[in-house]
């Protein structure tokens, strides 16, 4: 039976709550209502209000209380109703959670789940990709799964991790993708990228929903004789620099792709990694395909123009292939 990306996350939560009594969920409308996207549907019935804590509209308190519970040895999984609201609990994340271990050796084993990303006409405040605020903050881990398999395996690893993990769920994938998951238990390690498609001529390095865009582009390019390798980062911090460099060493050309806006986006970190470590293997400029530097617009034609898609990737990739 096929499992959607959303169901995969729910299964991961469920299994971890069954396995470990210290795991609990906390957030807005996650109990009876099951969360804005229904990721936590059914958890209240199964685990009760002690382990599925509905909160006031207080993102700082949600994160702060998670930190407090984490310091006491619990494993809270906090939900931001939309990733866009994570900025309301920002200080707690970047200054409290991120720095505890380094400063006073206190682990903060919390997960902050956030539905991020566009393509659902959510407009400027229900579509953002805020991962870079956290990628640049030492002490946090950042996970962005692209598949149902990885979403389940990574949420389980995130919960077991002893450090704060930002877990970005692409809301456009929630019900769009599904796959058959193993019946036996599995986890996916945090910090390991995956080669989603092997290729010789050019590497597309990406993560999240854009993995699907890259694969679509790769298919089109294959028909034109360009063999594309797609690297799915899966985790942004820790970043699997080895897999990235290995791919570029092989293909000599790198196209960096993300749905997030351009300036200060993940592509910068990837470009620096490549230009610093495997410069001598490069046979062409490192190119970026990203959203432009604007808020995410609401109106469909604008949003479509804003979001990267296979066509835009193919165009850039063709240019780079021929370079």
């Amino acid at each position: 039976m096929s499992t959607t990306y959303l169901e995969a996350i729910r299964e991961g939560l469920w299994e971890e709550m069954e396995r470990d009594p210290t795991v609990f969920c906390i957030g807005e409308d996650i109990g009876e209502y099951g969360g804005a996207f229904k990721v936590t549907a059914g958890l209240l019935e199964r685990f009760g209000a002690r382990r599925v804590v509905d909160t006031p509209i207080s993102e700082a308190a949600i994160v702060g209380a998670s930190i407090g519970a984490g310091l006491m040895g619990l494993r809270p999984v906090a939900e931001m109703q939309f990733a866009d609201f994570i900025s309301c609990g920002f200080d707690q994340i970047v200054n409290f959670a991120a720095k505890c271990r380094y400063r006073w050796n206190a682990g903060v084993p919390i997960v902050i789940r956030s539905p991020s990303g566009g393509g659902i006409h959510g407009g400027p405040f229900h579509s953002q990709n805020p991962e870079m605020w956290f990628v640049r903050t030492p002490g946090l881990k950042v996970v962005c799964p692209a598949t149902a398999y990885d979403a389940k395996g990574l949420i389980k690893s995130a919960i077991r991790d002893n450090d704060p993990v930002l877990f970005f769920e692409h809301k456009g994938l929630y019900r769009k993708i599904k796959e058959d998951l193993p019946t036996e238990e599995y986890t996916v390690p945090i910090g390991k990228a995956k080669v989603a498609r092997e290729g010789r001529d050019l590497s597309i390095i990406t993560y999240g929903a854009m993995v699907w865009t890259a694969l679509e582009a790769a298919e089109i390019l294959a028909a034109e004789g360009c063999s594309v390798e797609v690297v799915d980062l899966r985790t942004l911090v820790p970043l699997d620099r080895e897999t990235i460099c290995a791919s570029v060493r092989k293909t000599s050309k790198a196209l960096l792709l993300h749905e997030d806006t351009r300036t200060g986006g993940m592509a910068g970190e990837l470009a620096a990694t490549i230009a610093e470590n495997v410069f001598e293997f490069l046979d062409g400029p490192i190119v970026r395909v990203t959203a432009p530097d604007t808020p995410v617009p609401y109106s469909p034609p604008l949003e479509e123009a804003f979001l990267p898609n296979a066509e835009k990737v193919v165009e850039k990739a063709r240019w780079l292939f021929r370079y």
């Binding site: 909160t55 006031p56 509209i57 407009g123 405040f125 604007t294 617009p297 604008l302």
Partner: protein, 340 residues
């Protein structure tokens, strides 16, 4: 109701007679409440279901008395910060139904030209600031607008709207506290509709009323029947007079009920049916209509005619909005900064 003189509404039409509510005011209230109800019904029950409105839709059905009764008190120089269930504020300030519908449909003639959807719109030329999604974020911004009015010697008031749930947010506290310390002219208007999305009040706050939070800021806080538009109007007159006089902010808690789900896709199964029934009887439009007839402020025929006129007005506006083009993708990059 004390005899505080009414201060407002010159910019909309003639001010109502000072003192108690009168026929003219009632007519105006009814018009705006009906208009809001009709526009929101179209959006939620037609355009959204037809796929013509593609984003989130949050309506204020059953709560129309709050934006209407309060915004009608506002004066030309005042600045209003509506929340997501206060559509009538826009109409009262002079934003056309056409542009609001175009906004929901993501058209270029929408208030934000397609950049944003639903109630995420503002227009400084009529003194309305756009909310952002983050609840209560407008609260300190309203305080700043009030500060600016005092700074510039404008005797204006900021109207800051929010729901019960929004009062849990840090920004709410910081904004209200700052306004109180600075004795800024702000009227804080809470629509306490007893739910925040699916969350009932007792999971949102430990106090009984939002008004119980007034003393923390040494701020007068008044509880109003939020389904009685004339009561809201009178209370806002008091609140605005207090704020305008330089005494500091004033909190109005308007008790009401959200007669819908949180948004168009929410069936609100978590709300006990009885509550809908109970509050359905207190519908602010029905109540006002009854009062108008009882007081002989209007005949039933007049009211029926108003309903029909509004339906036609909205028909026309929908047609107009549907003919507005989508924004040109070539404009995507424009206007992030003043000059680019």
């Amino acid at each position: 109701m004390s005899a505080v003189p009414a201060t407002g509404a010159e910019i909309h039409n003639a001010a109502p007679a000072a003192g108690t509510p009168d026929a003219e005011l009632a007519h105006k209230c009814l018009y705006y409440m009906l208009l809001m109800r009709e526009v929101e019904d179209r959006i939620e029950r037609k355009l959204y279901r037809q796929g013509k409105v593609v984003g989130g839709v949050y309506v204020g059905r059953g709560q129309e008395a709050i934006p209407v009764g309060s915004a009608l008190v506002s004066q030309a120089d005042d600045v209003l910060f509506p929340s997501h269930r206060d559509m009538a504020v826009f109409f009262i300030r002079g934003v056309s139904v056409r542009r609001v519908l175009a906004q929901y449909m993501g058209r270029v003639d929408g208030v934000t030209r397609g950049r944003d959807g639903n109630m995420h719109m503002g227009d400084m030329s009529v003194g309305v600031v756009s909310l952002i999604s983050a609840l209560a974020a407008t609260v300190p911004v309203a305080a700043g607008a009030a500060l600016a009015m005092r700074y510039k010697g404008i005797n204006g008031v900021a109207f800051s709207y929010f729901g019960d749930g929004a009062t849990s947010r840090g920004d709410w506290h910081e904004g209200v506290n700052f306004a109180s310390v600075q004795k800024l002219p702000v009227v804080f208007i809470c629509n306490n509709n007893q739910y925040a999305y699916s969350t009932p009040l007792h999971l949102q706050m430990a106090c009984t009323n939002v008004a119980d939070r007034g003393p923390a800021y040494n701020m007068p806080a008044e509880i109003v029947d939020g389904n009685d538009v004339l009561a809201v109007y009178q209370a806002t007159v008091r609140a605005a007079a207090y704020a305008r006089s330089g005494s500091g902010p004033y909190l109005l808690e308007c008790k009401t009920f959200r007669m819908t789900g949180h948004s168009a896709h929410d069936m609100a199964q978590y709300v006990p049916k009885e509550l809908f029934e109970e509050w359905g009887k207190l519908d602010p439009i029905v109540r006002l209509e009854k009062r108008m007839i009882d007081q002989s402020w209007a005949a039933q025929g007049e009211i029926d005619a108003l309903h029909a006129a509004i339906a036609r007005e909205v028909d026309d506006a929908v047609a107009w909005a549907e003919q507005s083009p989508f924004p040109d993708p070539a404009t995507l990059l424009d206007g992030v900064y003043e000059s680019q």
